[in-house]
Symmetry: C2
Subunit: 331 residues, 2 copies
């Protein structure tokens, strides 16, 4: 039986990179000379929007599902997710011939619901304000003997997401660049945890920051206090991909050692970053995927004269919301 | 003095690749498993939207300007362009320390006018319905002893654009793929001419097509008749980047030998392709940059069961038009 509760390491991330070779896309690390001029900094954008399924989540999902035993494969996988992990699991399951059941909030963006179904997964929706996805998910898993793959607190998932960090380090080295700062959008913390394991080893002088939406800054607060804290109820954000209630247990165990802190942005700052990515990078980033770019553009940490990396973690945004954001302002 | 009127060859394209190494971005060749499933074909998208200045035009411009003599460099460059060649010349001139004057239609997309100015070029606008850019350009060039770099009928420009084709061939080879078809958006014909020189040599079994908007299908008609024909007046298209009146003399001399034909799409088909790129590739493509993708998606040549490459040649679209296109329909 696979052990999902172990603590990932640089070695497990490296091992995931081997597992994903030729399967995951080595996404580009883009930069815009015009934007660099405007910022007085060198900003590199790691475009996980161009990953299979439009987000980094494919990495962790494939790394996990590809290690299922034959019995696990035939019984199937279950996952719960606001939409990007759902798509990552659904496509990985399809590629590996594993039946997939995905539990998604009934108010997930239509693009995420449709894409997940499009990969052949069985989608079950729930009311995220009144039902517990953990409870529903565990019941379905138990009843059907399915393997539950959580979106971040999973050894193989975190290790897979960390391959993003290995690629960043390699791409920096190819161009003979040293990065002062790297920031990543942070929900449960799987992407930043895995990425930080890679960068601590391969680029030890790079400071790593978790970027979060206002009112969903549980990782930032937890890093500041040293303990996992929960967000207060009653708030909303357009960043549907990363509005998790509290840091993961495994992820925070890593992030408390590896991160320099958290950066918090308003939804309006995120919307401006989505427009900046449209203008300078021609990349479609969903709101939750743009918070790290937003934090660096808004100077939540001083970037002047520095070389900084923002991970654009996903691009699954409904066209109506994207159009609304584009029309709001000049950027 | 540089000779701009020579006929490019595979060797001159190869030489341009050397000149551009480490300067131009090696843009990704993307594919979407979900779209491939839908199409029953394998479609690869060469994303020149991610090139410096948001279009392939940087390649040809830099290849040309970087060969100027010291006297040419200090006197400066002049170019006329609907906007993408303008930006390519402006950024290349900036990188090389060459003063640049750019003649652009007064109704160019704001994003193209602003970006060109942003790279430090002096922009002069003209009325493209009543004035001849060729005449104005040649007068300014003569008066100020500036070197005129035409947008396509130039040996070094065509050779530079052809480096797109070298990269496509290399990227196909890395993945052990053979392409049956490659299509590129075609205005004056520089991109497809250069690309075809590369592919004829490196991927000789790939059929190459010029894609054009309806009513601006001068290359398609010229290929069919064997002679350079002009478009009829009185039509409009949203594809501002490629609404040229007639094929270039040098470019058509190449294209008549290397291409299998032309593919013509309506503006509505182009708009649908822009939406498809948003959904499946998270890439912002401008209308003129999406006509090759549109032609393949619409089956203007049969792609079922085949491996096909569409070049997405540019991404400089005003947010208002892009929003309008996104909101029009489901794709």
């Amino acid at each position: 039986m696979l052990e999902f509760d172990k603590t990932p390491s640089y070695q497990s991330v490296r091992d995931a990179a081997t597992q994903l070779r030729g399967i995951a896309i080595r996404t580009p690390l883009l930069e815009s000379m015009a934007l660099n001029d405007r910022l007085g900094a060198r900003l590199l954008l790691k475009c996980e929007t161009l990953q299979h399924t439009g987000s980094f989540k494919f990495r962790g999902a494939y790394n996990t599902l590809s290690r299922f035993s034959p019995a696990q494969k035939s019984a199937g996988v279950i996952a719960y997710s606001s939409g990007n992990h759902a798509q990552g699991v659904a496509l990985s399951a399809k590629l590996l011939g594993i039946p997939a059941t995905i539990l998604m909030p009934e108010d997930s963006p239509a693009i995420k619901l449709n894409n997940t179904r499009g990969y052949g997964a069985k989608v079950i929706t729930y009311d995220r304000y009144h039902q517990s996805r953990e409870e529903i998910g565990e019941k379905i898993a138990k009843d059907g003997n399915l393997t539950l793959v959580k979106p971040y607190d999973n050894y193989f998932v975190i290790s897979g997401q960390g391959t993003t960090g290995i690629e960043i380090a390699e791409q920096l080295k190819e161009r003979d660049i040293r990065a002062d700062i790297c920031a990543a959008p942070t929900g449960g913390g799987g992407l930043i945890a895995g990425t930080s394991l890679a960068l601590r080893e391969l680029s030890p002088r790079t400071k790593i920051y978790a970027a979060e939406p206002a009112f969903f800054d549980d990782t930032s607060k937890s890093l500041a206090t040293g303990e996992r804290v929960e967000n207060q109820d009653g708030h909303q954000s357009i960043c549907d991909a990363i509005v998790t209630p509290t840091p993961g247990k495994i992820t925070f165990g890593i992030n408390r050692r590896t991160l320099s802190g958290g950066l918090v942005v308003t939804d309006n700052e995120t919307r401006a970053a989505v427009r900046t990515a449209f203008h300078y990078f021609k990349c479609v980033i969903e709101p939750g995927g743009a918070v790290a770019l937003a934090a660096l553009l808004e100077g939540k940490v001083d970037i002047r004269g520095k070389t900084v990396v923002a991970i654009a973690s996903g691009g699954n945004v409904d066209p109506s919301l994207y159009s609304e954001i584009l029309q709001e302002g000049d950027q």
